[in-house]
Amino acid sequence: MAKKLMKGCEAIAEAAIQAGCRFFFGYPITPQNDIPEYMSRRMPQVGGCFLQAESELAAINMVYGAGGAGARAMTSSSSPGISLKQEGISTCAAAEVPCVIVNMMRGGPGLGNIQASQGDYFQATKGGGHGDYHCVVYAPSSIQETCDLMPKAFDTADKYRTPVIILADGLIGQMMEPVELKMNDNPTMPDKPWACQGWDPKGDRPRAVINSLYIETEVLDDLMTRLNARYDEIRKNEVMVETYKAEGAEFMLCAYGTVARVCKAAVRILAEKGVKCGLVRPITLWPFPSKEVHDVIAQDSVQGALTVEISNGQMVEDIRLAVNGEKPVEFMGKGGSIIPTAEEIAERVMKIMRRA
């Protein structure tokens, strides 16, 4: 399809539809309102279902229902709304219901503000809801990449029967950029014998049950063993990471999402000043690309690393765990949705390298 000028939220919604999503349940909150808005127009055109739920909690539980019946289902919200959905996400994880949840992060904690933020990294990657589970977390850094990741998100959700989170920020949601959508009128859907689609007593399929309550310790342990084996598979197969000018770099920047784009500009500024700086950008935040991050930062040529986030420091903990003390890792970032400029990042790198 030829390029269109699209707002991030619209592009995400259309890409989800192209990936076969036919059930969207949502509740308004800025800066993701354009997703339900777009879905409310488009879903009827493709024979899908858009429903504005009475609350975030209702929306995620509708996703649980549709996903449990085998449909590709999605909900979206922004930080405070995602907090409200956590019980449902934990339930989806326990009941092995595939689904996609979009979080257009805004400033927090509490109601925070409606500007772009990256304060939900911990929530997305370290659980969020209760219990021993993980969600696959994709962190796109442009509208085009967000579109490209949507089919992947639904495929991963189905393949591993797990909730998948798209962790973007308000900037991606609200910006307009030219994007090319891969139109696919007839996406192939995987067979889901486990789904509750009506039981035929004369058929050979066992009765499907979607459940997250396991009273017996051994039975719950069976589930956890099964989930953990699956998480190991995800860690093995699904890590995505981008490195930029990392080979032979003297210094490494680490960032995800839109901040990584600012960092790329900082890398170019530093190159003009004669500093060989590279960037490592995790695309999957869980599974975290620990090995890849370690390998680029621990290379001999690198003096140190700087993690930049629109938060007071969250991903930096995983970066430090990955580097394991082999090189110094510093942090730069602020809450309050203040996005550092490329010049500020470059200046900070120069300072750390004692060149300024």
């Binding site: 619209e10 800025t30 030219p178 400029t341």
Partner: protein, 238 residues
């Protein structure tokens, strides 16, 4: 007597960009006021470009809290001052789609007192936007805007663009759409917008291929002041 311009259109069609360009042009000839009536989108709104409008002497009437990064759907009582007798130009920037045009409806009694030749209501079209890509959806939006605003659209604007990646082919796509839209509705095409370079290539093409001037209207050059491409964002922020 004041001249009134009201810019409507689909969400993201480029209304605010045209508002800014028209305002700077009009301010050279006399008093000019821009009224931001957008109550549906707290981001990327014309009120943010006070830095461009104020030095040019353009008066800006914006919703209370417009720059506070919160969503309060209220309009300033100052909007009524735009209807006070006087000279110059008043340009209304209306929120996108029919939902955005609801805010316009309440001023219908005021507009009704102004001679029709002093009011231009433009419908800005950008076929590169997914919600206004074809005749059917553009017509749908146009009629809905007329319905909720209770105003008649008097001109259609070809503002086909793909932000920084706009080419001649996009304006030609826009030409076909506004032509079809104009034929269907009987509303004339007011003009065709573009950055000077793209607009020039369109003008050359139009002359070489005998495009109907009735569906081109005025050639309106646009300087990009509103849209933040990523590079511009990096340099200047939001």
């Amino acid at each position: 007597m004041k001249e009134y311009w009201v810019l409507t259109g689909s969400f993201g069609s480029g209304k605010s960009e045209l508002v800014l360009n028209l305002a700077l042009e009009k301010a050279k000839k006399g008093p000019c006021t821009v009224v931001d009536l957008d109550v549906i989108n707290p981001y990327f709104r014309v009120s943010e470009r006070g830095d461009v409008l104020s030095p040019a002497g353009v008066e800006l009437i914006m919703p209370p809290f417009a720059l506070e990064k919160i969503e309060i759907m209220s309009l300033s009582a100052r909007v009524y001052s735009a209807f006070a007798p006087g000279e110059g130009t008043v340009i209304f920037d209306i929120g996108g789609d029919d939902v955005g045009s609801i805010a316009l409806g309440q001023y219908k009694p005021r507009f009704a007192q102004i001679p029709p030749d002093k009011v231009k209501v433009l419908f800005v079209v950008n076929p590169l936007r997914p919600t206004a890509a074809d005749l059917e959806s553009a017509l749908d939006t146009l009629y809905k805007i007329q319905y909720v605003s209770r105003m008649d659209i008097t001109g259609i604007v070809n503002n086909a663009n793909l932000a920084g990646e706009t080419e001649l082919s996009h304006l030609l796509q826009g030409y076909e759409l506004v032509k079809a839209l104009s034929r269907e509705t009987g509303i004339p095409v007011w003009g065709t917008c573009g950055t000077p370079e793209v607009l020039r290539s369109f003008e050359e093409y139009a002359k070489a291929h005998d495009l109907d001037p009735a569906y081109i209207g005025k050639y309106q050059p646009i300087e990009i002041m509103m849209h933040r491409s990523w590079d511009k964002f990096l340099k200047e922020g939001l």
